[in-house]
């Protein structure tokens, strides 16, 4: 499967110009094959099913981090709302999973009745099963398409895409930029999560959607196999997402986007429709985030509004920053590194540190360490982990100390101009 992605990548000429894409795809393929051999589903069973799920989820997080890098690292829009798009994608697929599975259960239980069930009885039965927990027994309007997998799959792409399009159009049109845009996207995320927390939002309030790990009609397939399917799908999505992102940021389009990041006004004066470029990137990344979410939550098994809370989007920014923004592999490395490390620390596997007077329990102190190391990365190593690769490949960035050469804070400095 991943070999296919590599093949597809080879056909594109730009891959030759960007060797990192090839290296990344090869690493991803190697990783996928390795996990397949080691996992329970089809291999020798060294890796447990739950760890396969963790790895699969990590791949999805890498994909959403890739989207974040595209919108922030390349286009300079620090969006604090991409985890909301991620969550929307999860909700969209979760609605179908929950509906279809409940439908099977209801039909099975009604089959024992003397009369064959009417469509109305089935629908009422499903509604009672799903919404009994929030005290409702009728389908809200948002569930109108939940019976159809193709329509919900379309929703995975369309809902985040449309939301991003409308929000982005409103925001970019009125020239909301920089930190204002960040705060505005954060407000959007907060509004969405608060809305979903209500019981009458139609999406089961803070209970969220659950039981998503069970595929409807495939109860006899063991989870070890299902987890591998999702792992492969996540790996494929990440591979395709990486190629797509690399293709978008290469060439003239990518140059314009980077130019917008560095000096938006100048690009506008050169005659480029800055708003359209930003809107395209914002919407595209929202769609990628939605797809990543749709792959993530069936592996997680449950989605609730807390997943959409603003802090999740901030963590996304943290991953990208630690991995190194402005380079695609940086985002992937950051997301994988931090989220796996986070799982290790908060899972209680990390050994406690005994200081004599106080024992540092990592379950409690990991967040502190993460927050402080994030500050340290921002201050001391703006390139993140990706900067290490620069050391290997001997690429040195200009020294940015010295007097301003232009009126803008982002303008080149004296010594940069010298090089």
């Amino acid at each position: 499967m991943s070999d296919m992605a590599v093949d597809m990548g080879r056909r594109r000429p730009f891959v030759v110009r960007h060797p990192s894409v090839l290296i990344f795809l090869a690493a991803l393929a190697l990783f996928t094959v390795g996990v397949t051999i080691l996992a329970e589903g089809f291999g020798i069973g060294v890796i447990s099913t739950s760890f396969v799920k963790t790895l699969g989820k990590t791949l999805c997080l890498c994909l959403v981090a890739l989207a974040m890098d595209l919108v922030w690292g390349y286009c300079g829009i620090l969006s604090l709302g991409h985890m909301a798009f991620f969550g929307i994608g999860g909700y969209a697929i979760g609605m179908w999973l929950m509906y279809a599975r409940t439908e099977l259960i209801v039909i099975e239980s009604l089959a024992a009745a003397p009369l064959p069930p009417t469509p109305q009885e089935i629908s009422d039965g499903i509604a009672t099963q799903i919404f009994g927990v929030v005290g409702a027994s009728e389908f809200p309007a948002v569930w109108a398409f939940a019976h159809s997998l193709p329509l919900q799959l379309a929703a995975v792409v369309l809902v985040p895409g449309l939301l991003a399009l409308v929000f982005g159009w409103l925001a970019f049109r009125s020239r909301v930029t920089g930190v204002y845009l960040s705060i505005l996207t954060q407000a959007m995320t907060l509004a969405l999560s608060l809305y979903l927390f209500q019981n009458d939002s139609g999406l089961r309030g803070n209970n969220g959607l659950s039981g998503l790990q069970n595929l409807p009609g495939l109860d006899q397939v063991p989870q070890s196999v299902v987890s591998m399917w999702f792992f492969w799908a996540s790996a494929l999505a990440l591979g395709l997402g990486y190629v797509l992102s690399a293709w978008v940021v290469s060439g003239r389009f990518g140059s314009v986007i980077r130019a917008i990041r560095d000096d938006e006004a100048r690009v506008r004066f050169l005659g480029y429709p800055v708003e359209a470029f930003k809107l395209f990137i914002f919407t595209l990344t929202a769609i990628i985030a939605g797809i990543a979410g749709a792959l993530y939550y069936p592996q997680a098994g449950i989605i609730n509004p807390a997943e959409i809370a603003p802090i999740a989007s901030i963590y996304l920014a943290v991953w990208v920053a630690i991995g190194g923004r402005g380079r695609l592999y940086g985002a992937v490395i950051g997301a994988a590194f931090v989220s796996l490390l986070s799982t290790w620390f908060t899972g209680g596997q990390a050994p406690d540190v005994n200081l004599g007077f106080y024992t540092i329990s990592w379950v409690d102190w990991w967040t502190v360490l993460l927050g402080l190391s994030f500050v340290a990365v921002t201050l001391l190593a703006p390139k993140g982990i990706g900067g290490l690769i620069d050391l290997l490949t001997d690429r040195v960035s200009p020294d940015r100390h010295g007097a301003d050469l232009g009126p803008e804070p982002g303008a080149l400095r004296e010594k940069e101009a010298d090089r």
Partner: protein, 654 residues
């Protein structure tokens, strides 16, 4: 006649025999009791009324004691003489007996000669009602007030006469007012005379009391009735349309069925049960069971069963709608006669207008207090973000630090007033230090890189929150307000505001004045404005920009700490309390207009009143209110991206 003579004779004999004192068999109270002796002894709720009334109306001072003893099951009757006494049980068989007439002890007797009167709970209630009459004229004002409380809790028709009798000779003015009000309320509910009721109703014109509405609303009670044509009459209310909000079609048809005007309709479940009961060889009335997978097919099967006489025939949908359209549904007033209803609805309409006005005022006060809380949360930000242009996402955590400082101070200083006085400067000091440290260690390296400032302070915010969680735990900690801030300022039954909210409002005003003073009238404020407008020029003038930035940031953070103490008094102290306010605080500053303290004030007013307004439209759901408020703000920023008060000219470019 002979019997009473006999009785007196026996009485005399007994009184001679009695060792201690003779009972006064001819005392007035005993005569009243004897007149109703049989009813009292064989009491039932239906027959006891005259006896209680006679006692209560006797005007005898002993009557109250008789009723109290009776109610407490302490009244006994001599089996032979039939005289009533009260007694204490010394042990299982022995009684110490007292006379009602003068309260004197008659001696100790075996209880074989006496029969205890045990009124049931219904009668005890009636006795209690009669006792109210005595309590209302009790010399002790406390007892009178207790009696009024009891009537207010559970009014009865019998209280009305008692209240009227007791109203005249009330000396305490506040009790007199309460008695009059209660008398008027009871008149509305229980008086037989329509004119008196209407007069009482009009007495309350414009009154906002909840009790008035509680008395008036039952008068307007209606019953929905159905007829083929609308009947004439004063007691007919509005005509209802089936399928409207007041009367659903199902309910309307239910009325028709109950009135015998239409055949019953069968529900989906009942129909299924009926069908299931008639399955024969996989068929129902000749129809294959397997084909009955739609409502239409089931209807047909049921109709076939009904035609065969197996089940009750039911109305079809067409018959239902026909029946609904050929009848008229209307409300009939059942709570009171038409004239009273008219008076009550007129007065109630006036009252509801007044209530609406007052609710609007109350809402205004609520909005004001919410606005002052947002203002408090945002004002530190107005300095660090608004004036300096530094995004500090850890601002909410400074609020939290201030609140926890207050909590820790209260652990050491038990006096709440003193602890708040200590906590406010201490919270300022702690958060000032934290702010200066943050500025020195992190922010000064990131001036002109706002996105990175945002991210780095996020890291600080995450770390501070978790540290607070590790130290203080996840449960909410109390920050108790001093006693003099308890309670609330009540204007009437609708408009009230708690003192703590007033205190927060006053604190917000003081902050506004303080910051305006510091920024516009002091050397520090001048230097701050100089540095923010043009740091290089300010440096050339001998101002140290580093020092000023550090102090300004510390000042803004310190104010967040004081705001934390105030917010902690009003809400619980948790490690997440800052995070709850941070987005709203930024919204407040952005909506108001960055770089302007007055703008922050306007922004807080707008955000606060908006949230309260939306909550009023949908009171059950504060989450929805916050959602819609944020959406509104996002839209607002579309149209005024620089806030309500936008800086103009060169300052806007900085």
């Amino acid at each position: 006649m002979t019997r009473s003579l006999c009785r007196i004779l026996i009485c005399c004999l007994i009184s001679i025999a009695a060792p201690v004192a003779a009972q006064q068999a001819d005392a007035p109270i005993q005569q009243v009791l004897q007149a109703h002796g049989d009813e009292i002894e064989k009491s039932s709720r239906r027959t006891i009324g005259p006896a209680i009334d006679a006692l209560a109306a006797s005007g005898l001072s002993e009557a109250q004691e008789v009723l109290e003893r009776w109610q407490a099951k302490e009244m006994w009757r001599q089996t032979e003489t039939g005289l009533f006494v009260w007694a204490e049980e010394i042990d299982r068989d022995t009684l110490r007996v007292f006379d009602f007439a003068d309260g004197s002890e008659l001696g100790t007797f075996s209880d074989d000669d006496y029969e205890q009167l045990k009124p049931n709970s219904g009668i005890r209630g009636m006795i209690g009602a009669a006792l109210v009459r005595f309590q209302l004229t009790d010399p002790d004002p406390v007892n009178r007030a207790t009696a009024l409380d009891a009537i207010e809790r559970d009014p009865e028709a019998s209280h009305l006469a008692a209240l009227r009798a007791a109203a005249g000779d009330e000396t305490d003015p506040s009790l007199a007012a309460r008695k009059t009000r209660l008398e008027r309320l009871l008149t509305i509910r229980f008086d037989e005379d329509e004119a008196a009721r209407i007069e009482a109703i009009e007495y309350f014109d414009g009154d906002l009391g909840v009790d008035v509405r509680a008395a008036l609303n039952p008068l307007l009670a209606t019953r929905i009735e159905v007829a083929t044509a609308l009947p004439e009459g004063d007691d007919i209310g509005r005509v209802l349309e089936p399928g409207s909000e007041a009367l659903s079609e199902d309910d309307a048809y239910g009325l028709l069925v109950d009135a015998g005007l239409a055949a019953p309709r069968i529900g989906r479940d009942d129909k299924r049960v009926a069908l299931e009961g008639h399955i024969e060889n996989g068929r129902i009335a000749g129809i294959q069971v397997a084909t009955l997978d739609s409502e239409a097919a089931r209807d047909m099967a049921y109709a076939a069963l009904a035609a065969a006489g197996e089940v009750e025939p039911v109305a079809t949908e067409a018959e239902v709608s026909e029946a609904l359209s050929s009848h008229v549904f209307y409300e009939r007033f059942t709570g009171a006669p038409p004239a009273v209803v008219a008076a009550a609805s007129g007065v109630l309409a006036g009252i509801e207008n007044a209530v609406a006005v007052n609710q609007a005022m109350d809402l205004g006060l609520d909005a004001l207090s919410l606005a002052s809380i947002y203002f408090l949360a945002a004002i530190g930000l107005a300095i660090t973000f608004g004036v300096m242009g530094v995004i500090n996402m850890a601002h909410g955590e400074f609020i939290m630090m201030g609140a926890y400082t207050g909590y820790v101070v209260q652990l050491f200083v038990p006096d709440y007033t003193l602890s708040i006085i200590v906590a406010i400067p201490l919270a300022f000091a702690v958060t000032f230090a934290a702010g200066v440290a943050l500025e020195r260690l992190v922010i000064r390296w990131l001036y002109h890189r706002p996105l990175e400032t945002l991210l780095a302070t996020f890291g600080v915010s995450i770390a501070l929150q978790q540290i607070a969680k590790n130290i203080f735990g996840t449960q909410a900690r109390p920050l108790t307000a001093p006693g003099w801030l308890d309670g609330s300022l009540v204007f009437n039954d609708i408009v009230s505001i708690s003192y703590i909210r007033i205190a927060i409002f006053v604190l917000a005003l003081m902050f506004l004045a303080l910051i305006l003073f510091v920024m516009n009238r002091t050397r520090l404020g001048l230097e701050v404005r100089a540095v923010t407008q043009n740091p290089r020029m300010a440096a050339s003038m001998g101002i140290n920009p580093d020092r000023i930035n550090m102090l300004t940031f510390g000042f803004g953070s310190g104010i967040a700490g004081i705001a934390g103490v105030a917010i902690g008094l009003y809400a619980k102290v948790t490690s997440e309390m800052g995070a709850d306010y941070i987005v709203q605080s930024f919204m407040t500053v952005v909506v108001g207009g960055v770089g302007n303290i007055w703008g922050t004030l306007l922004g807080a007013s707008l955000v606060g009143s908006l949230q309260k307004g939306i909550e009023w439209l949908n009171p059950s759901n504060t989450l929805a209110a916050q959602t819609y408020m944020i959406l509104f703000i996002i839209l607002f920023i579309q149209f005024r991206p620089r806030g309500i008060i936008a800086l103009k000219g060169r300052a806007a470019e900085a």
